[in-house]
């Protein structure tokens, strides 16, 4: 049973650009705004990337700063701190992918099975909410909950006799890693499930009916109808997430910062901020940022090819 079999092909019509523009000019006009935004914020800064080849000093500008070729890259790649940050970033992003990626899928499947419409809506809203909380708020609440001796969770655990002394959820590096990842899951799972829910809505009801007539149980329907129905969405999102393996969220790392967890918390965003922006070494910050983007792009391209080789639609 496959969803791919029921692609609806309409009559083939020929539309020229001119025709399309005359007919839908107002739509294109609306499109102009987001395109301008994307151009301004994603491409207009590209000429600034040349500062990776310069010893960029803000007061001297691009023309007045000395040309140093690839020396900045060489310096960064030799820096022990960079290696530490790189290793942590890769490990944590892989773990994040492993933990955070499947949860929204499972959640979407579960939400989809809810039959009480009101309960479903309330659940969805409650699950989306954490996405709208800033990391600063999440961080401070997390510390209030998880401090080793005065955090509410530990106070309850100790008072109820479950543990003898508080668990260092955020103050010992291994515990920190687990807490950090799980808070990430909690924050993103609701929002991440939206795309899957949308994809599930697109699955034809006839398929479910056919499956039910064939005697498929609820779990079998999820496994044989719903999951294959959203497979291409899963693949696309996986490819996009693979591109973030080199990425690093400064806010999230910063709010969970404390001196006991630097061994894991020191990731590329922190490295860029402390060594680059914090010290006005813009060339260095740009070099690391560019490196992250290039690796991310390569990962997206490779995984896209790989997905296509497996017969999926892919991203590009």
């Amino acid at each position: 049973m496959s969803v791919r079999a029921v692609k609806n092909k309409g009559p083939i019509t020929k539309t020229t650009w001119k025709k399309a523009l005359t007919r839908d000019w107002h739509l294109y006009l609306m499109l102009l705004f987001p395109i301008t935004m994307v151009f301004m914020f994603n491409y207009a800064a590209y000429p600034g990337l040349r500062m990776v080849l310069l010893d960029y000093k803000p007061a001297h500008g691009y023309e007045g700063s000395a040309y140093v070729g690839l020396a900045t890259f060489a310096k960064v790649f030799r820096d022990a701190d960079f290696h530490r940050a790189l290793k942590n970033s890769i490990v944590f992003n892989l773990l994040d992918l492993l933990v955070s990626f499947p949860v929204p899928i499972v959640l979407a499947l579960m939400l989809n099975e809810l039959r009480l419409a009101k309960f479903k809506k309330i659940s969805q809203t409650v699950l989306y909410l954490p996405h709208f909380l800033s990391w600063v708020i999440i961080g401070s609440v997390a510390y209030q909950l998880f401090k080793p001796s005065s955090g509410i969770v530990n106070v309850l655990l100790v008072k109820s006799g479950i543990v003898d002394s508080g668990i260092p959820f955020l103050t010992e590096k291994n515990h920190w890693a687990v807490t950090y990842l799980l808070i990430g899951v909690w924050q993103g799972m609701g929002w991440g499930s939206i795309l899957y829910l949308a994809a599930i809505t697109g699955i034809s009801g006839e398929l479910y009916e056919a499956a039910m007539i064939d005697g498929a149980s609820r779990l079998q329907r999820i496994w044989h109808v719903t999951l294959p129905g959203i497979r291409s969405t899963i693949v696309i999102l996986l490819i996009m997430n693979l591109g973030k393996i080199m990425g690093s969220n400064y806010e999230r790392l910063d709010v969970f910062d404390n001196t006991q967890v630097r061994d894991y918390q020191y990731q590329l965003a922190i490295y860029i901020f402390e060594n680059g922006l914090g010290n006005a070494k813009f060339s260095m910050a740009t070099a690391v940022g560019l490196f992250q983007s290039m690796v991310g792009l390569m990962l997206v391209l490779i995984s896209d090819r790989f997905a296509k080789a497996l017969g999926e639609d892919g991203l590009l």
Partner: protein
């Protein structure tokens, strides 16, 4: 001898009067033929309830009383207090640096000079436009700090009482001390530890010593752990306060003491998660023995403390004049820099803009202008008391509401403190008088004790370098960040592991850039490009009078 004394008194009077003599003709300026715009930086401290720092009653007051008179447009640009260097970098990148660039920290301003943000200028021209300001620099021996590599880059604002600063005071629970048998505030380490353990044992506080996370710059000052006489080359290499000196013996002593307090259960085990605000709340809630802050006419945290603890008795921590060789502590303390703001000028500022900026600095230095800017409008921001001294209306919230700390972030371009007569008058004006306890007499006595310790030669000024220090700029952020990590691990490790761990971290710290920093400082010191240590002593000061 008598003649010499007469000459000395005459000279002193002349020096005191010079600024006043000059001020009579200082503002005889002609208005500019064409309007000149100058931009002045002002700290944005992100505090609630403070008027917009770039446009408020007082910026308009400057424009009306100074700008319009000389055809100058005075604009202000907000500089986030916690992100100064970044903000200036952004402004420089956008080619939008203000006319004036100013900062308290010498390494920062020398960095600006090295990065080409600033222009050099002719100090004689400055003196012609701003004679009061200039003469005050001369009278206070500040000209030596205005040059980098022999070129004049800065004018230096005045910092009264820079080596006997009394404005930061530590308050302690005297009632707790009395409960455990102390009728005085402990100063030596032995007394302090004894009192803290007694307070803990008596169940008054779980972690009386409290503690809070360190913030980086200025943390873990080790002046009182330095043995005397101090070696000047070592002082030049490690004696700084911007980069903590992990690996130097006073730092070792300090951290060993922190480690001891932690393991003795005096320090809160969550201290490294405790912000200064958390510590303040803990003090207000009666959980810790001590909290310190800058004094002012309105100290909201003291008011809150007395509301929460109406029967409590506080005392201020006295000045230490004792040598405790066994514990390795001395009365040594850090003095402030002998200047306030170091004021430099944008590399692209025109001659007219430069002159206008100098006029602004001079105009604000004029007594009547400065007084209004510091105290506000009579009947609104302040009133005169029976002795004829101004007293700030601490809860004023009207149209002429001033910026943080009585407009300090504006008038800091010329001076660092409000002036109001004698030191007794100044201290009286800068303390709250509506609390259950009044600390005026205590702080005045504290000030004179500090003067006695200073006069005995215990004041330590940090080395300043007249060359730009590349390694400091390169490694400072990295080292301060690394230091936070290491010092907390050292504080919390078991006592018997401390020495080995200290040695290991000191080595790693040196390799991470501290060795490069200290070598660079030593080279500058040996080349004669640094200031020198003040006279020092090893005599105890008797403050028991």
């Amino acid at each position: 001898m008598k003649k010499l004394l007469t000459y000395a008194i005459m000279l002193a009077m002349l020096l005191t009067l010079m600024p006043v003599m000059a001020s009579a003709e200082a503002t005889d300026w002609e208005p500019f033929a064409e309007n000149v715009t100058i931009t002045i930086p002002v700290y944005d401290r992100g505090q609630a309830g403070i008027p917009n720092v770039e446009d408020n009653y007082w910026t308009q007051w400057i424009q009306e009383n100074f700008g319009n008179k000389y055809n100058i447009t005075v604009k202000y640009v907000a500089i986030p207090r916690s992100d100064v260097m970044n903000k200036y970098s952004m402004l420089a990148a956008a080619d939008d640096l203000p006319t004036v660039l100013m900062e308290y920290d010498y390494p920062k301003v020398t960095q600006w000079a090295a990065d080409g943000y600033l222009q050099t200028f002719d100090m004689e021209l400055f003196a012609e436009t701003a004679p009061t300001y200039y003469n005050r620099m001369v009278a206070n021996n500040q000209l030596t700090y205005t040059k980098i590599n022999g070129e004049t880059y800065f004018a230096a604002a005045y910092r009264p009482y820079y080596d006997t600063a009394y404005t930061f005071q530590n308050f302690v629970r005297m009632d707790w001390l009395r409960e455990v048998g102390y009728d005085y505030v402990p100063v030596t380490r032995e007394d302090y530890l004894d009192a803290m353990l007694a307070i803990k044992d008596a169940g008054i506080a779980e972690y009386p010593a409290g503690g809070e996370m360190i913030t980086g710059v200025g943390s873990d000052q080790n002046y009182s752990y330095r043995t005397w006489p101090l070696d000047e080359a070592e002082w030049a290499m490690y004696g700084d306060y911007n980069i903590p000196s992990l690996g130097w013996y006073p730092n070792y002593e300090l951290l060993k003491y922190e480690n001891y307090k932690y393991n003795a259960g005096l320090t809160n085990p969550e201290y490294y998660l405790t912000t200064s605000e958390d510590a303040k709340s803990a003090f207000i809630n009666g959980e810790i023995y001590q909290y310190g802050g800058y004094i002012s006419a309105s100290m909201d945290w003291l008011t809150a403390f007395y509301e929460a603890n109406p029967d409590a008795e506080l005392a201020i921590v006295p000045v230490n004049g004792k040598i405790d060789a066994e514990a390795g502590t001395y009365p040594g303390y850090r003095t402030d820099n002998p200047f306030g703001m170091m004021v430099g000028f944008n590399k692209d500022a025109t001659k007219d803009q430069l002159t206008a900026a100098w006029m602004y600095m001079e105009w604000l230095t004029q007594e009547e202008n400065l007084f209004t800017f510091q105290w506000g409008i009579e009947g609104e921001n302040f009133n005169y008391n029976e002795e004829g001294l101004p007293v700030t209306v601490s809860d004023y919230n009207g149209e002429c509401k001033m910026g943080v700390n009585n407009n300090k972030d504006y008038w800091c371009i010329t001076i660092e403190a409000r002036q109001a007569g004698t030191i007794e008058d100044v201290i009286t004006a800068n303390l709250p008088h509506d609390l259950p306890q009044d600390f005026t007499e205590d702080v005045i006595a504290w000030y004179y004790d500090k003067v006695a310790v200073r006069d005995a030669g215990w004041a330590i000024a940090n080395a300043l370098y007249s060359v730009s220090m590349a390694a400091e700029g390169e490694f400072q952020t990295k080292l301060t960040s690394l230091y936070k990590e290491y010092r907390d691990k050292l504080t919390m490790c078991p006592e018997d592991e401390f020495d080995a761990l200290y040695e290991q971290y000191a080595k790693e710290y040196a390799e991470a850039g501290y060795a490069a920093v200290t070598e660079e400082r030593l080279a500058a010191y040996e080349a004669g490009s640094s200031t020198h240590m003040l006279n020092q002593t090893a005599e105890e000061v008797d403050l028991s009078k």
